[in-house]
């Protein structure tokens, strides 16, 4: 499978196989006008299989979203066709408006203008809880 290399933008690499689409959705990549490639189940010596996303534009990436969906990924920054930076993404401590609280008793269910904020309460088990009602994400 041939996918063109990009000139300016990002290559999100080492995505756990199967999580690429979720990342694509949460990053809102469907709304972009530029070329975006999502490659699923690529063979990887290290991971067996992985997903890759290529974005051919220097957009403002929400690294918290990436860290939440798949903290092991690598984000490669491409400028003028060259790799200029390689970033390892970790789990963020706080998520703001990345996911919504599903608890119908939470104040966020009735006050529409409130930010949906989650805090990482257990980094080992990767558990996020709503700051208002403490419901698990």
């Amino acid at each position: 499978m041939n996918i063109d290399s990009i000139n300016n933008g990002f290559v999100i690499d080492h995505i756990t196989a199967g999580r690429g689409m979720r990342l694509f959705e949460l990053l809102g990549l469907d709304k972009l006008e530029c070329s975006v490639a999502i490659i699923k189940n690529v063979s990887s010596a290290k991971m067996g299989k992985k997903d890759i996303i290529k974005i051919d534009e220097s957009i403002s990436l929400n690294f918290d979203v990436i860290g939440y969906v798949d903290p092991g990924v690598t984000v490669n920054v491409i400028k003028d066709g060259c790799l200029t930076e390689k970033m390892s993404i970790r789990k963020p401590q706080t998520l703001v408006n990345v996911i919504k609280c599903k608890n119908p008793r939470c104040i966020t269910s009735v006050e529409q203008e409130l930010d949906h904020i989650f805090k990482l309460t257990d980094s080992e088990k990767e558990i996020y809880r709503c700051i208002y009602c403490e419901t698990k994400a």
Binding site: R105, C106, I107, E111, E113, C130, Y132, C133, E134, K136
Partner: protein, 306 residues
């Protein structure tokens, strides 16, 4: 601005200090009768409550302050669609401290994030009720002389019972605590409370469906009401509401110095014949609640002035 949203907002030392102030208020009420002169407490109660609201109001009045507010959402601007944030900002212009009850979980935190005065969570849905925990702690302290080396049984609705979750969280910070969880299968303590509080703090606990079986080992028995408003389904409520009723027969094997507690209101889970038993402490809890709220109002107003 310091507020009280969750009982864990306060350190063990701060709780000890509140208990010590409350004990001093009990011993010397006159000394505190004008401590809040000229100060106003706003009681913003978006759902009905007799005990908690009156307790806050009595607390402020006994400190020489005054109170204003509303006792149901229908008589507030919330009925017109005003946000919690706007209500908090508005009330900050009129009062010196807020006590808020709201049916939605997290509403007092939203108020605290927007108010310019201290906010006290007076109960947010099934989530937190820290001032009830303050009342519980003072009761345990006065009845047992301290908090260490106690076996505490929690009985009834341990799933939705916010007072249970808060008291477990508070007690988990002391040493030698053992917890016995007594409930029907449907109302067991949520696993996150067991994992995040009990197991994390190395607190030994056991679970049983039998109140009689658990009774002999208990120093404290904390009864709870199976609350209608916490159920989505009326049938489930009717099926479970009478699961655990405490009567003299069940107390036969209890310790002589058992302390029976209940956050009230009770429906029928403690038989009225128990009220005469010297081990019944639930009405003392009500009184202790007022003293702890007095100590809390004093602390938060003092810190706001600094």
């Amino acid at each position: 601005m310091r507020s009280l949203i969750d009982i864990l907002d306060f350190s063990v030392e701060e709780l000890d200090s509140l208990i010590s102030v409350a004990n001093d208020i009990i011993a010397n009420p006159q000394k505190y009768s004008e401590k809040c002169k000229g100060k106003k407490l706003a009681t913003l109660f978006f759902e009905p409550s007799t005990r908690t609201r009156l307790s806050f109001e009595a607390a402020m009045l006994e400190l020489g302050g005054s109170v204003l507010g509303f006792s149901e959402a229908a008589s507030s601007s919330a009925a017109k669609g005003e946000s919690i944030a706007d209500t908090a900002k508005t009330v900050s212009c009129y009062a010196d401290i807020i006590a808020m009850r709201h049916p939605k979980e997290g509403a007092p935190l939203v108020a605290a994030n927007n108010a310019s005065i201290p906010v006290i969570n007076a109960g947010d849905g099934g989530h937190n009720h820290p001032t009830q925990t303050l009342a519980d702690l003072l009761t345990i302290y006065r009845e047992k002389g301290g908090f260490n080396n106690l076996t505490i049984g929690f009985c009834g609705d341990l799933k939705f019972g916010r007072t249970v979750h808060s008291l477990i969280a508070a007690m988990a910070r002391y040493t030698g605590i053992k917890i016995v969880l007594i409930s029907p299968e449907e109302l067991k303590l949520p696993s996150y409370v067991k994992k995040d509080i009990l197991e994390k703090n190395g607190i030994p606990y056991s679970q049983t469906t039998s109140l009689e079986e658990a009774m002999p080992q208990l120093d404290i028995l904390y009864m709870t009401r199976v609350q209608r408003e916490r159920f989505f389904n009326e049938e489930d409520y009717l099926r479970l509401k009478d699961s655990y009723i405490l009567d003299t027969r069940k107390l036969v094997n209890a310790k002589k110095d058992l302390c029976i507690m209940h956050p009230l209101p009770r429906v029928n889970e403690i038989s009225v014949e128990i009220d005469k038993d010297s081990r019944a402490c639930y009405f003392k809890q009500v009184l202790n609640g007022k003293y702890m709220r007095m100590a809390l109002i004093l602390k938060l107003l003092q810190e706001a002035a600094e």
